[in-house]
């Protein structure tokens, strides 16, 4: 009889497990407001961002500007009208002057072909008013409709002027400001990771012995120390560096220092735990053997303990450096400095998407390279 019940019991448990899972997923589905149609429908909203990401701002060329100008009295008669030449680079309007709120047509002739032209008003007060940006055709011609604003009125017989600035890229390509900024921030980011990993190692290496059961767990005091050290590591480790960094940035002000400090704290706990596991896994045989040769304590540690743990330690350190570079790239989002800060700024400014693209590319390249490097180093070590 009993034998026959076993499959039924198993079925029951399996069914219960599946029911719980289904319930959990159902609940999660609602809590997380899953809405795939929206994802599809609104995917176009990411177009600007993705396009900018695909055309990052990495190079510029020096720009040479040539300017041509003409007087344009508003309203008519307030100032002498401009003469319109019929050759050479020139601006031509369909009316010689205009009243406020009228529109007229502005044309440019014999400018540089296929180049960008910034057209604007130069006001008598010295200010400028943008009209627009146009591109000339292959004959160096452009045409634009202009609406006259009252602010362009002439003052004391001095008329506003229309200027056309032709921007011509000249000279070789050179790294853009964004690229230089990104490289600098990337350096900061890598150093943040390097510094915090180093300091964390220096603190964690001795502390890890306290959390190693084979070293510490002796007697009441030792056991207490062991559990305290262990829980301390686990507690700190449960916070993402970003969570820590947000508090540290609130305390220390925004910047890489706050980020590094937060990263150091979390890495210390994380390395402490890994180190203590490495220490726990050491083989006591060699220790015995070295003791039997008449070596003193320090010699025993150096010849029997250290060789056993150093490769593991180094591999954990390299691994964490790799992780920390990843985290440093985003720790700036909560005020921790480095490239994340730059990225956040650029994303929040409406015009910064191309620069954000540069930063993201830099992150991808650096993370990729370090991932590879750290994997290679760790492969060599074991």
């Amino acid at each position: 009889m009993k034998k026959n019940l076993a499959p039924i019991a198993r079925l029951f448990w399996n069914a219960l497990g599946i029911a719980i899972l289904v319930f959990l997923f159902g609940a999660s589905y609602r809590v997380t407001q899953i809405d795939f149609p929206r994802l599809v429908r609104d995917a176009y909203k990411a177009r600007d961002f993705v396009m900018a990401f695909l055309s990052p701002d990495v190079v510029t060329r020096d720009v040479e500007t040539t300017v041509i100008e003409m007087n344009f009295p508003v309203p008519c008669g307030s100032a002498p009208e401009a003469e319109m030449p019929d050759s050479g680079p020139r601006l031509v309007t369909n009316v010689p002057c205009a009243e406020a709120r009228q529109t007229f047509i502005l044309e440019g002739f014999d400018l540089l072909p296929n180049s960008e032209v910034n057209v604007s008003w130069l006001l008598p007060t010295g200010g400028t008013l943008r009209i627009g940006r146009v591109t000339t055709d292959e004959d160096g011609h452009f045409l634009i409709e202009v609406e006259v604003r009252p602010i362009t009125a002439a003052q004391d017989g001095v008329p506003s002027r229309i200027t056309a600035e032709t921007l011509v890229p000249v000279g070789p390509l050179k790294p853009s400001q964004a690229l230089l900024d990104v490289m600098r921030e990337m350096f900061v980011t890598i150093f943040m990771a390097l510094l915090s990993t180093t300091i964390a190692t220096i603190i964690a290496a001795p502390l890890s012995f306290l959390a190693a059961s084979n070293i510490t767990k002796r007697g009441v005091l030792g056991t207490a120390v062991y559990y305290i050290a262990r829980s301390f590591f686990n507690f700190i480790r449960s916070f993402e560096p970003l969570v820590m960094a947000s508090v540290f940035a609130f305390w220390l002000g925004y910047g890489p220092f706050a980020g590094s400090l937060a990263l150091t704290v979390v890495t210390t706990a994380s390395l402490g735990k890994l180190f203590s596991e490495a220490v726990e896994s050491i083989d006591s045989g060699p220790i015995e053997a070295i003791q039997a040769t008449g070596a003193n304590r320090l010699q025993t540690v150096l010849y029997a303990v250290v060789p056993q743990i150093v490769p593991d330690f180094i591999s954990f350190i390299v691994y964490h450096w790799d992780i920390n570079v990843r985290i440093s790239t985003i720790i700036g989002f909560v005020g921790g400095g480095g490239i994340g800060y730059y990225l956040n700024e650029q994303i929040n400014s409406m015009v910064g998407y191309h620069r954000a693209g540069t930063a993201i590319w830099a992150i991808i390249i650096v993370v990729w390279a370090l991932d590879f490097l750290s994997a290679e180093v760790r492969k060599r070590l074991t």
Partner: protein
């Protein structure tokens, strides 16, 4: 015999080559990797110093260069040369520059501010005493009108009676309010509710609660000033409208309940955990088929599939190196603030991570059991069922649980860029300097993450 033995590289030539270009001599001495590494290390240190260093730091690349010549000579003579010196030089340069760039400045660590930030965190705002509310209110008209008489500012509710004199008042005018029949000797908060339901405190400069204690008969009388902000939403400030003055008493009835922020902590944490669950689930669905495409042993049969393998691998690596936080920003742009954006970000990152791990499992399948099953005359499906699946299911499960664990951790921060979960609240509380709520969030994170960490470690232990 003599022709067989390769000619020994000349130490002199090796040294000279390395003097010319670091690493060249080592390459000549048939130490290609060492040479490459020396060259790269030299260039990295040189670049670093050239970019950021003061002139004095050029000692580092210079030292490496000199060492490299010595090393090349040593390599040619098959003598062991320690790499300690260049390592130390490089690290010294890196650390001094890093120190300067990270702007390490312990003087900026204002300890008083640190304590001010930290101390409230030790009194986390998670629970509050369960209390019972004794509430009373009276209507009052604002402002007084010349055309219309104000209804009496008085209300009776069983034993309780509340009234205000006069019956109407203008902004910033003083009113006497009175209530009786309340609990005796109890702090009573008096506050204003506008005609459209906005709460206004009455204490301090209209920014703090006004608290008055009832006498032993349960009555109190005090004066208040009509708050200046109550007419802001009103189109015609002369129009008389009815507002309310509330009297609230609270007393503990034993037990604890979540405070307002505590409720948000629970909500945020629930969101975080479910986000992680959902993201992992979605990721597994996608990662399993992809992982087969990314398994070298399955895909290297012909050039076409191998090309697919290379492309899939590259894309996976590419996506994996974008942190989920950055992905979250993109998804927030698409689907707006909220946990769904977080789920998508975590899911995309997890697909890449899981597919890589899964594909490594597939690459590591032991052909022995498959052969054994095949040898019994099993068909293809049976081979997969008895030879392949038992080999891949436990590690797949272990990796999935591990990923869920990571996702729970990540989901605590993804809200910081608007992706939902506890991070969303956390970043706001920090901005508002509500460190007690931050403390509560920290505790919740620690409990949930530590528990899941433990559980997942246990399950994985069993599986492998």
């Amino acid at each position: 015999m003599k022709t067989k033995a390769p000619k020994r590289p000349s130490p002199w030539l090796a040294g000279a080559l390395s003097l010319l270009l670091p690493g060249l001599g080592q390459i000549y001495a048939r130490q290609r990797y060492r040479g490459g590494a020396v060259l790269i290390a030299f260039l990295v240190v040189l670049g670093m110093v050239a970019w950021y260093g003061q002139p004095a730091w050029y000692f580092a690349p210079l030292g490496i260069w000199l060492w490299n010549v010595w090393d090349a000579v040593g390599q040619a003579g098959e003598r062991r040369v320690s790499v300690l010196i260049p390592l130390l030089l490089g690290l010294t340069a890196a650390y001094s520059i890093g120190w300067q760039m990270v702007r390490v400045d312990f003087t900026s660590a204002n300890w008083e501010r640190g304590l001010a930030v930290l101390r409230p965190m030790f009194r986390p705002d998670l629970f509050e005493r369960r209390t019972e509310l004794n509430r009373m209110w009276t209507p009052i008209s604002v402002p007084c009108s010349t055309t219309q008489e104000a209804p009496p500012a008085r209300r009776q509710d069983g034993e309780k009676l509340a009234f205000a004199t006069p019956d109407c008042a203008g902004v910033l005018e003083t009113v006497i309010v009175s209530v009786s029949g309340m609990w005796p000797d109890t702090d009573t908060e008096i506050w204003w509710e506008t005609n459209i339901g906005d709460d206004k405190p009455l204490g301090g400069n209209e920014n703090a609660p006004l608290i008055v204690r009832t006498d032993e008969t349960g009555s109190l009388t005090t004066t208040i000033r009509v708050p200046s902000t109550i007419l802001i939403a009103q189109p015609d400030p002369t129009l008389q409208l009815t507002h309310r003055i509330y009297f609230d008493q609270r007393r503990p009835i034993g037990g604890l309940q979540f405070s307002t922020n505590g409720g948000f902590v629970v909500k945020g944490m629930t969101e975080s955990v479910t986000m992680a669950l959902m993201a992992t689930f979605l990721a597994v669905l996608l990662a399993i088929p992809i992982s087969f495409l990314a398994a070298r042993n399955l895909m290297s049969a012909n050039p076409f599939t191998f090309a697919i393998y290379v492309v899939v691998r590259t894309v996976l690596n590419f996506v994996r190196s974008i942190e989920s936080l950055i992905l979250a920003i993109v998804f927030v742009i698409i689907v707006g603030l909220g946990p769904f954006a977080g789920v998508l970000a975590l899911a995309v990152h997890s697909v890449a991570a899981l597919a890589k791990l899964y594909s490594e499992v597939i690459e590591g399948i032991d052909p022995g059991p498959i052969e054994a099953v095949r040898a019994t005359g099993a068909n293809w499906v049976q081979v997969v069922r008895y030879g392949v699946i038992p080999q891949i299911v436990p590690p797949f499960t272990a990796f999935t649980i591990y990923r869920w664990d990571i996702n729970v951790r990540s989901s605590t921060v993804i809200g910081m860029v608007g992706g939902g979960g506890i991070g969303f609240y956390l970043i706001q509380w920090i901005a508002l300097n509500d460190m007690r709520a931050v403390g509560a969030a920290f505790i919740a994170i620690a409990i949930v993450v530590m528990t899941l960490d433990y559980v997942s470690a246990r399950i994985r232990e069993r599986l492998v």
